[in-house]
């Protein structure tokens, strides 16, 4: 990212997040350019998932400012639940989508309804229009033939691919992946990664990925950030981080996960 950068789509400005006495993010600064694909790696508990959850407005934070697609919000004087109004939060959310570790499909809805429900209810699309788009998205994730199945009838890998289609149906500018393959049997990881890989070619989509699949991270990312104790300890191009890490903590971590 050496060219004159456009305004970042995501900016954490001195954000601090605490769970009780535990400080998860400490005076955290972080920006992402539009269209950038960023992977967050690091030991568990280092705060990388919390970054995604704050972006999705699933977690409030205590100090600092978060700017997302030009809209800012903060928590004036500290503690408690979201100080920002629900309307403002919903506006921010409309730019962001999230894929969860445990898929979190709606068990009482068919695959098709999982994908069309939010576009119809939230975006106000007609059901026909939403279904038309859903068919395309399900084809994209390779599940066009499963549209009338229920989540309980699908494998974990298939459920996660539906979850990706569901998130894409809201046309987010930023898509967050929170350990999308960690809950999958090893033989099902590949099919999900290949869908994410195809999305990485989308020029306009900004992607933030938390994962333990290091080879995959190296392959799809523009930038890799190594997290340690609520801070970004080291970041850079994937080749640099994986072949020539500067920080001892990064080296230690990579040695432990790459074996």
């Amino acid at each position: 990212m050496t060219q004159t950068a456009p305004a970042p789509i995501i900016a954490f400005d001195r954000v601090t997040k605490r769970f009780g006495a535990l400080t998860v993010l400490d005076d955290f600064n972080f920006t992402v350019a539009p269209g950038e694909k960023v992977t967050l790696i690091g030991p568990s508990g280092s705060g990388k998932s919390t970054v995604l959850r704050i972006l999705m407005t699933l977690e409030p934070f205590q100090e600092g400012t978060l700017t997302l697609a030009g809209m800012s919000y903060q928590q004036p004087n500290g503690t408690g639940p979201f100080k920002a109004g629900e309307r403002h939060l919903r506006q921010i959310r409309s730019h962001v989508g999230m894929v969860f570790q445990s898929f979190n499909l709606f068990p009482h809805m068919s695959v098709m309804r999982n994908v069309v429900e939010a576009p119809v209810r939230v975006l106000g699309l007609s059901r026909a229009e939403a279904e038309c788009r859903a068919v395309d998205l399900l084809a994209l994730v390779g599940l066009a033939d499963k549209k009338d199945h229920f989540p309980a009838q699908l494998s974990g890998g298939q459920q996660q691919r539906v979850a990706i289609a569901r998130a894409l149906a809201m046309r987010p500018r930023v898509l967050l992946f929170d350990e999308p393959t960690s809950a999958l049997d090893p033989q099902l990881v590949g099919e999900v990664l290949s869908v994410i890989r195809s999305l990485a070619h989308e020029h306009d989509l900004t992607m933030l990925l938390v994962t333990h699949e290091m080879r995959f991270a190296r392959e799809v990312s523009d930038r890799v950030c190594f997290f340690d104790k609520g801070r970004i300890c080291e970041q850079g191009a994937p080749d640099q981080i994986f072949t020539n890490p500067q920080q001892p903590r990064t080296r230690e971590f990579l040695a432990s996960v790459l074996g």
């Binding site: 699933l58 959310r93 979190n104 068919s110 809201m170």
Partner: protein, 221 residues
């Protein structure tokens, strides 16, 4: 064959019992959802009001409630037809129990479902109506089945505020004929039969809610 001559009267009583029970289940169900949802989703004031309603009607005896509305309220100038009193009090009573079922089922919906709904930008009301409540409904059904039977049984107490239900008719016939064994055996069988029918209806309703493929596993009762 005296018992045959009791049947028309007992039958009319059974019809009253069935009507009151069904009306109380419908009304009580509505009260249960309103109070249960209010406890989970309402602000502090609304949730506290709902809690007070639940505790008040669960914490006192149904017969005390019936007499209170039937004998005591008219003294301060508020009175209804006995049938109205019977249905409303019975509905409020079972509604209070039902609200606990609704609250528990809503609370048992996984937190991840709320998060998924939020990630798709659903509003609070939309999340409740389209995501959490439909899932909670499946959880509620077995408990609601038991509550329906409970409503039928408790409906016998309305005979004590002079409503001519099955129990009331049985009492009248017995007082006339002193044929206690026959009359009460028939009455007990009548209630048992109605219970079985009601159970069948609730199972049917549960199957409708469950909708086959979405919830393939049997309910944990």
């Amino acid at each position: 064959m005296e018992w045959i001559s009791y049947l028309p009267s007992l039958g009319r009583g059974a019809l009253v019992t069935a009507s009151i029970t069904l009306a109380a289940i419908a009304l009580g169900g509505a009260a249960a959802f309103v109070a249960g949802i209010a406890r989970v989703e309402g602000g502090r004031i609304v949730a506290t009001l709902a809690l007070c309603y639940t505790e008040l009607f669960r914490g006192t005896s149904l017969l005390v409630q019936l007499f209170w509305f039937y004998y005591a309220l008219p003294l301060v100038g508020i009175s209804f037809e006995p049938v109205t009193t019977g249905i409303v009090v019975l509905a409020l009573h079972v509604g209070a129990y039902g609200s606990e079922i609704v609250r528990g089922a809503l609370a048992s919906v996984a937190q991840q479902q709320h998060e998924a709904a939020r990630a798709l930008n659903f509003g609070r009301m939309q999340t409740l109506l389209h995501i959490t409540l439909p899932q909670a409904l499946v959880e509620m059904m077995p408990a609601f089945g038991n509550l329906a039977i409970e409503t039928l049984k408790l409906s016998s107490l309305v005979s004590l505020i002079s409503i001519a239900d099955l129990t009331f008719r049985a009492q009248s016939i017995r007082n006339l004929t002193l044929d206690s064994t026959t009359v009460y055996t028939l009455t007990l069988l009548g209630y048992f039969l109605m219970s079985l029918v009601l159970m069948g209806l609730m199972r049917l309703l549960e199957r409708l809610v469950r909708r086959g493929a979405a919830f393939p596993r049997a309910a944990h009762s």
